[in-house]
Amino acid sequence: MPLFSMAILLLIVLGCVFAPLLANHDPTDFYLSDLNRPPGQEFRFGTDSLGRDLYSMMWYGGRVSILVGLLGASIIAAIGIPYGCISGVAGERVDFILMRFAELCGSIPSILFVLVLSAAFGDGSVVSISIIIGITGWFGLARIVRGEVRQIRDSEFILYARACHASFPYVMIHHLVPNLVSAIMFVLVSSISSCMIMESTLSFLGLGLPVTTISWGSMLSLANKALLLDTWWVVIFPGLFLVTTLLCITNIAYHFRKEGNRKASNL
């Protein structure tokens, strides 16, 4: 059991959930008399060049980032997996068309998609931005799922289900997905990270969440400025939280993917 990862993740998640209790400053406030303070008693992680308290921002920012990451990744999974499964089991022609379609979507710059979509759901809320990120990010997953499905689709346990006249959704949910999970776990988990980073990029481009919404991603983009100003804490903390959280999620996910009893290597 990855107890260590679970403990850390739990701490971070609890910290974000109970952000109002933990935060000792207003995360959106600018403490103009305390610019660029290094970590200390009052500002535990220091302040940035505009006097924002990084410690409080961290917990509030985590809420948004983790939410966007999980929500975005769920949407990616919810679209990418069924799409990949359909394409994987479909005949040559349908598969060809589905894959070309995915490639088509994948080769359009996501910025353009985001522009169009944000006009459609343009309320700038966390949920709508997650949806946008999800909708524009599933193509890669779909292709990988398809590849894996092709390998197991003629397995005899699936043939049996087919012989019993199982519907496609049944086969997908009971046979394909469970046997795919370990193969695509890494892709799934890393889509959490790409969603978080996408959110920060979008915010930075002015296409994402309003500037007043704090997220780890937007904090990371502050790092850009801070580096030249020698305020290492502004650079390090958001990165540390982001990477740690993702590593913990990865570790835990790997544990639960039920790696089927792997036989010994022949090498």
Binding site: F30, L50, L205, P210, L227, L228
Partner: protein, 503 residues
């Protein structure tokens, strides 16, 4: 682009000792008509007039000029010794062509055309004389004649907006365009040895197109650039370093939240813009964002010699007064701490361009301060302003470094630069008067009056004037900080012919 190959070979041999590498903004065209606040058009092209150290127009391509008050005509006597960089002679036809283009081409993608509205005709009685007739006297007209002149022989009959000339400019200025290497992100200029006036000391300028402020600072630090305009925070880093020099220019460049008077919100609530000033601790913003490199702004022509009327400074940071005034205006705080009036929250959205860090920071700080006072100013980052997307305003930056009439186009009802749809008959009146008055003292009074009137009903929540911090390697000399610079601290190269560089 083409030509870059040979140029590259040439440069490969040339030594870099007398070359200035300038880290500038990214560019798309070099044409004084199309981009009027950037450095390069200024040194490649020259106008009938140019500015001196104090921002006063003096003759340049013209040897002298006469003004006929009765007929409202300017007669320019052109220099005879001017040649285009391609060797052709410069004549009055070029001037006529340029001003015709400016006044008659309705498709010109330029924001300055309304400055020339008063011109009724431009004629060339002989190759070295140009006569420009105006509808009426225009005090700023001499300023506007500083606009660079384009070569007729290269552009006539072509679409100025899109011609390849814009990327291969030929001018009459101090520096010649050599090559634009888009793949390398640099524009190379060489001094114009045939320049009719003082030939610059620095032999070559390499203008690197950089889209990001951090990169500019990094380039300076790693020695890839010699000179750059940095924001105050980055500039501060170089101040104690012996190998760098910092020049702090005053600029007429202000930042403030300009409201769109056509928006539903301000149509109803325009009376409550001025009072917001009371809730802004502008000094704190300057110290916080600008490292103290700036001054508190109260008037749009505050850094102009004809402006700066202290009587217009009627709002100082005072939250108590703010509360009182708001009450007078009929605003009541709602349960969420935000003022309400007639069932409407005091909430408005301003769009802010994301490419300049200081703008974003200032907007954020303003928003935070207003929020504390009970006003919800939502900041939305955009890539480019979208006037049709229904925002209630935008974070404005504008400079009136030369004639105060430069604000005419911004504040006069329906003028070309009046993107906030500001309309105040008294202001219109004052600015018109200022434009058509000749006497300097009288003008100063008029503009002082304007400042007072305007401050009662402002359209812009002014915050600060920024200083222009130029940082360069220690070997650069000759930058002159007397000049008040413009928007984005443009104009630093006004005396580039006097600069020297030692490595």
């Amino acid at each position: 682009g083409c030509g870059s190959k040979e140029a590259a070979n040439d440069q490969g041999k040339a030594d870099m000792s007398n070359t200035l590498v300038y880290a500038g903004e990214s560019e798309s065209t070099i044409n004084p008509l199309l981009n009027n606040h950037e450095e390069l058009p200024d040194i490649i092209f020259s106008g009938l007039m140019k500015y001196d150290a104090n921002g006063k127009p003096i003759p340049d391509l013209a040897e002298s000029y006469d003004y006929d008050e009765a007929a409202n005509t300017y007669t320019f006597h052109l220099r005879h010794d001017v040649k285009w960089h391609d060797g052709k002679d410069f004549t009055a036809d070029d001037v006529v062509y340029t001003y015709k283009e400016l006044t008659e081409d309705k498709t010109l993608a330029s924001s300055i055309t309304s400055n020339y509205e008063d011109i009724t005709s431009v004629t060339a009685p002989d190759p070295y004389t140009v006569v420009i007739a105006l509808k009426q006297y225009d005090a700023a007209m001499l300023d506007y004649f500083t606009m660079g002149i384009l070569p007729k022989h290269l552009l006539e009959g072509k679409d100025v907006n899109t011609d390849a000339f814009n990327q291969h400019p030929i001018g009459t200025g101090r520096y010649k365009f050599v090559s634009w290497d888009t793949a390398g992100g640099m524009i190379t200029l060489e001094r114009n040895a045939d320049y009719y006036d003082k030939v610059p000391n620095i032999e070559r300028i390499v203008y690197k197109t950089v889209s990001n402020e951090t990169t500019k600072a990094a380039m300076l630090q790693s020695g890839e650039a010699d000179l750059a305009w940095l924001n105050s925070k980055y500039a501060a880093k170089f101040r104690d370093n012996k190998s760098y020099k910092t020049w702090d220019f005053k600029t007429a460049d202000y930042r403030g939240a300009a409201m769109d008077m056509n928006s539903d919100f301000w149509k109803k609530n325009a009376d409550s813009i001025g009072v917001l000033n009371l809730a802004l601790d502008k000094k704190a913003i300057i110290d916080g964002v600008l490292e103290g490199q700036g001054i508190v702004a109260y008037s749009p022509i505050q850094r102009n010699p004809l402006g700066t009327n202290p009587e217009a400074d009627i709002y100082s940071y005072d939250l108590d007064r703010f509360a009182q005034e708001m009450e007078k205006l009929g605003w009541k705080k709602g349960s969420d701490g935000i003022y309400e009036r007639n069932g409407q929250k005091f909430h408005f959205r301003i769009q802010t361009r994301d490419y300049e860090e200081e703008r974003v920071d200032i907007a954020n700080l303003m928003s935070s301060m207003l929020k504390k006072a009970g006003v919800d100013m939502e900041v939305v980052l955009v890539t480019k302003f979208d006037w049709k997307a229904g925002y209630d305003g935008f974070l404005a930056g504008y400079a009136t470094q030369f004639d105060p009439d430069m604000i005419y186009s911004q504040f006069v009802t329906n003028a070309s630069g009046n993107t906030m749809h500001y309309s105040n008959p008294e202001v219109d009146q004052a600015l018109r008067e200022g434009r058509h008055t000749k006497d300097v003292d009288a003008r100063k009074k008029i503009y002082g009056e304007f400042e007072k009137i305007y401050s009662q009903h402002p359209g812009i929540l002014l915050t600060a004037y920024l200083d222009g911090n130029y940082v360069g390697i220690a070997g650069i000399d000759g930058l002159d900080t007397t000049r008040v610079l413009g928007h984005h601290s443009v104009g630093v190269m006004w005396n580039i012919e006097n600069w020297t560089i030692k490595r």
